[in-house]
Amino acid sequence: MENLQVRIWRGKENGDFQEFEVPRQESQTVLDVVTYVQRKCDPTLSYRFACRVGVCGSCAMTVNGVSRWTCRTHVDKVAEDNKVEIAPLRNLPVIKDLVTDMSEFFDKWAKARGRFAGSTTRKAEFAQVSPESKERKRVDAGIECIGCGVCYSACDVVTWNKDYLGPAALNRAWTLINDVRDTERAERLAAVAGDAGCHACHTHLNCTERCPKGLSPTAGIAGLKRAVLAATLSGEI
């Protein structure tokens, strides 16, 4: 197989693409390519990964202009004319090369009250939540988020409004709103109801289109919009 022509972002916000040649291999992933470059071509290349199997959510990058998890993105699927361009995630400050500072991404989970608040202690019996209940099904639809930041990177509203909580944080809030054990429903709805909350979503569906886990944060955000409206009308918030 012909060598792959790879362009990799070097530097911080200001930087440039550096070109490398990487031998093609069968079932080669984009993360394999980055790892090859770091080990064989330039050990100063910085990137982030951990599990390599689509669980940890740490290896997301922009591949040929599209935010993706690189460990489960095959080169065959994304190479155009045997070329791949690899850059850091969008909408986040670049620390170096392919590594972004994800602080604001996770801070926004906290702002959206993304932490479960229960009313029982560890000594209590397990809560019984029917898998068939409407709430549980809604939680199931959004709970598999791995926090990779792909949706945040793909979202235009994040680009336009730096305070926007973003798809992942709002999706997390939606799963907690539907968690029947949670005790902070009203506070959480108030937290996601502001200008930078669910109502800022333009329903571009960039997040739904790009989520590597096949989740639809758009659906959760739409659910939050309805829940906020109902809570406002009923005087809950």
Binding site: E13, T62, N64, G65, V66, S67, A87, P88, R90, N91, V94, R138, A141, S153, A154, D156, T159, H202, T203, H204, L205, N206, T208, E209, R210, S216, T218, A219, A222, G223, K225, R226
Partner: protein
Amino acid sequence: MKNDFRARNHPAYWAFIVHRTSGLLLTFFLPLHFWALGQAFHGAAGLDRFLDWTQNPLVKFAETGLVLLLSAHMAGGARLLMIEFLDWREWQKTLLAVAAGVSLVAVMAFLLNLV
């Protein structure tokens, strides 16, 4: 760093562009529409003259564009309302094709009526 067109190259984003563009163009059309209706204030003759002018084949053909804008904006808007107000189902992704289809059918029907 910001996204470029490659990140936005998917049908739902095209739907957004169509919805926003048609909305803006219709906003520009509305004052013209009200001006035309306002001709009635100056008597029936003025309005009739304007309505006669609109029978011009070129104007009729241009109206097709207007029907396209209206139908695209309405069908796209209905799609958005269904995404926002109904619980998420996988078929909502295909609403996009339905909206495009409805819009095109409306334009075809208008064109058939013209000829």
